[in-house]
């Protein structure tokens, strides 16, 4: 059994690497091959030809295409994303990225965990009381929540907080100048948490309804199975039936769904960061689009894609642990 598990993981890793290679090629196709002369996209017409040539050399667009392609693969594995043009002119993007990645990771990670925790609980209650008042009310509520785009939650949050707490910070990731102010570590943490609170609530609320719907439907599937009837007939407490017999079996589709929805959460994250000017990857890609800094855009897109890929990979591995049938 152990061998088959190792084989499974190795197969998954090979698949992961292949997809990674595909993503690198796709990115290359998008940013280097498709737009004709990429340097023309970045610089306006009438730019100084000498500057153009310098930047063409720095960004590596002067080499033949195949060499650019090989370089882009090598650079990806070296975690070298090239040079920023506008946002931090001349700086290496890989030096620029870490704080942005950390903030987004913090946001998406916590947001997902909270959303899953609440959504799972909510869906469970709804499925358990199927057809009751709670279930019907929550179904209606779920559809309403499901149809509201993430940015509207953000707008609503800002309006409510602007009305109730006039001094609550509504934009940015930290208070301006807090890096230089002589604050103790505790008040710094509070500052960061205050800034992160509203964006995180917006992301969480936007994804709770989806999770709750999935949990409910997969649990309903399980609850019609015979072994649940058996468990009830044995005289187990309903609580035990739900927690020990139904939930573990309902977990499989839920885990798969969490992995899929990471892509959606990242998408919501981009827009929420934009609204709150929260300096994460999403805000960085917005800045990159606005200022035509395509190397930065390429890097942020690559990182977001890879994070979805990795979460899919983790879900596959988890699936292996949860589902004994895969092991045979």
């Amino acid at each position: 059994m152990a061998r088959s598990m190792r084989g499974y993981i190795i197969r998954r890793i090979i698949y992961l690497l292949l997809t990674l290679l595909l993503i690198v090629s796709f990115n290359f196709l998008l940013f280097h091959v498709m737009p004709g002369d990429p340097i023309r996209l970045i610089f306006p017409k009438g730019a100084d030809p000498e500057t153009l040539e310098t930047w063409r050399h720095i960004l590596g667009y002067d080499k033949p295409l195949w060499e650019q392609f090989v370089n882009s693969i090598i650079h990806t594995f070296e975690l070298n994303f090239g040079t920023s043009v506008r946002i931090a002119p001349g700086a290496a993007i890989s030096d620029l990225l870490p704080p942005y990645i950390l903030r987004t990771l913090f946001m998406v990670g916590f947001g997902t965990v909270i959303a899953v925790a609440i959504g799972q609980r909510w869906g469970r209650e709804a499925a358990w009381r199927k057809g009751g008042l709670f279930d019907r009310a929550s179904s209606t509520l779920c559809i309403v929540f499901y149809s509201i785009p993430a940015f509207l939650y953000a707008i609503l949050g800002i309006m409510i907080f602007a009305l109730i707490f006039p001094h609550w910070p509504l934009s940015g990731a930290t208070s301006p100048g807090s890096e230089f102010a002589s604050m103790d570590i505790f008040s710094k943490i509070i500052d960061i948490l205050q800034h992160a609170f509203l964006p995180m609530v917006a992301i969480t609320v936007a994804s709770i309804a989806g999770f709750s719907l999935v949990v409910r439907s997969s649990l309903l599937d399980v609850l019609t199975e015979d072994y649940i009837l058996t468990a009830e007939a044995k005289g187990l407490e309903p609580e035990d039936v739900l927690k020990k017999h139904a939930m573990p079996n309902a977990m499989l589709p839920i885990v798969a769904n969490i992995a899929i929805s990471v892509g959606y959460i990242i998408s919501g994250e981009v827009i929420v960061e934009y609204i709150f000017s929260y300096r994460g990857l999403g805000y960085l890609s917005y800045e990159a689009v606005i200022s035509f800094d395509f190397p930065v855009l390429e890097a942020t897109f690559f990182i977001m894609t890879v994070s979805v890929l990795i979460s899919n990979f983790i879900a596959d591995i988890l699936n292996f642990y949860l589902d004994p049938r895969v092991k045979i």
């Binding site: 998008l30 707008i155 892509g263």
Partner: protein, 441 residues
């Protein structure tokens, strides 16, 4: 025979004159709107109509005593339809290629409607003339000989629709959603014509801060003293058009690839499914942002981008359904009788996946509204057109939330949410009507 040909030639002439007058009217309307590109669609429509008429005359002259009249008529219908669609496709492609950021929405709407109406009008009119030329009675005779009369066929079809509606209207939620959707669509369509103020022009209140609703400005004014109510009336149309076209496009791509992958299997399946796997890994909003940043901002690009990003889930659904249908006994049997793949797909596979396609196309449109709203809000839609997402973006830019200008934010936000919700609920209800076994949930 010669006599009747002469009579019919007069008829064709009459139709042509009528259509010509119609064309001139459309052209005048377009000129009145101040459009310069409006000539193109009339030319395209001319081509369509001429093709239809000339072909019908050629048919009549060469085949005086045709084998089966019905086949001829049907053939003409197909020729006309194909010509129409090819011309439409060429025209739309041209339009997208020529589309710049300074493209005006009203001209887009007028052109789309004009091309569609004229194309179909020509097809139908030349169809009518052909049927008249051939003689109605003989077609009827032929059809009764086959078994069912034409009117009976139509009656059966209508009873299907009636039955569907009976089932659908049992769901209160679905009916209400449909009603709301109809109301929003009507508002969006007549909005540009009934808007009380010009939404592009500042109103003479000279305050340069948003004013709360008053009698003259029902939803107040925005930062540049522009009327929010008029903006709201006009802003629904682009959302509806773009999301509808984009949703249809991803549905068509998804259904085609799904049927191919499911039915043919093997290598085509492998290629298509790996492609969908890959596309599902790309996070959709960043992907759309990247594509639009590279391709430029216009309606055509937004439609294409949403279509590209959202087809894979459709493909997977359709493929699964096709796989389950493919193994059925009757398909095996009809293959044993020598039916070709195309015939089996047309007669057995497509009718089976059709309900799924329709339901999911509605969900696709709902998702497309999501995407359009996101893109507009992100400032990546067509920057020169007023849409609900665009209104929200400007409100955000001028920090309307912090200042609590609720009259500026609420209308577009409510519009977007209602649209998404209505499409979702309608899709859900139709799903319930066509797949009753899901009702237990």
């Amino acid at each position: 025979m010669a006599e009747s040909v002469k009579v019919n030639a007069v008829k064709i002439l009459k139709y042509t004159i009528a259509i010509g007058i119609f064309l001139i009217l459309v052209e005048l309307l377009a000129r009145h709107r101040g459009l310069t590109t409006a000539g193109i669609e009339t030319i395209v429509a001319m081509q369509i109509g001429l093709a239809g008429t000339i072909l019908s005359i050629v048919y009549l002259v060469t085949k005086k005593e045709p084998m089966t009249q019905r086949k001829l008529a049907l053939g003409m219908l197909w020729v006309n339809l194909i010509v129409t669609f090819v011309c439409l496709a060429i025209y739309i492609a041209l339009m997208i290629l020529n589309m710049t950021t300074s493209f005006d929405l009203v001209s887009l709407i007028v052109q789309c409607i004009a091309v569609t109406i004229i194309g179909y009008a020509f097809s139908i009119l030349s169809m009518i003339s052909i049927i008249e030329l051939i003689g109605k009675s003989r077609i009827m005779k032929l059809e009764t000989a086959i078994g069912k009369s034409r009117s009976e066929n139509i009656r059966i079809r209508w009873s299907h629709i009636g039955h569907f509606w009976k089932e659908y209207s049992k769901s209160r939620v679905g009916t209400i959603a449909l009603a709301i959707l109809v109301i929003i669509s009507v508002i969006a369509i007549i909005g540009p014509f009934v808007a009380p103020q010009d939404p592009h022009l500042p109103q003479p209140v000279l305050s340069l801060t948003p004013q709360p609703p008053s009698e003259k400005y029902l939803m107040g004014t925005d930062f540049e003293d522009k009327d929010v109510f008029s903006q709201f009336l006009i802003g629904g149309m682009p959302v509806l058009i773009v999301s509808f076209v984009a949703g249809t496009m991803s549905t068509v791509i998804g259904a085609l690839t799904g049927v191919i992958a499911g039915y043919y299997g093997r290598k085509s399946e492998e290629v298509i499914m790996r492609t969908t796997d890959f596309f599902l890994v790309l996070p959709w909003l960043p992907f759309m942002i990247v594509l639009i940043a590279l391709l430029g901002r216009s309606f055509g690009i937004v439609i294409i981008v949403i279509g590209i990003v959202s087809w894979p889930s459709m493909t997977r659904l359709i493929r699964a359904q096709v796989l389950s249908v493919k193994e059925k006994m009757y398909i095996e049997r009809s293959r044993a009788f020598g039916a070709s793949d195309l015939y089996i797909i047309r007669r057995h596979i497509l009718p089976n996946v059709f309900p799924l396609v329709v339901v999911n196309s509605i969900f696709m449109i709902s998702g497309a509204i999501f995407s359009v709203a996101f893109l507009d809000f992100f400032g990546l839609g067509n920057p020169n057109t007023i849409s609900w997402g665009w209104m929200l973006e400007r409100a955000q830019e001028h920090s309307a939330m912090v200042n609590l200008y609720w009259w500026w934010i609420t209308p577009p936000a409510v519009g977007i949410v209602l649209l998404i919700m209505c499409f979702y609920l309608i899709g859900d209800t139709i799903d319930g009507v066509w797949n009753p076994r899901l009702k237990r949930r």
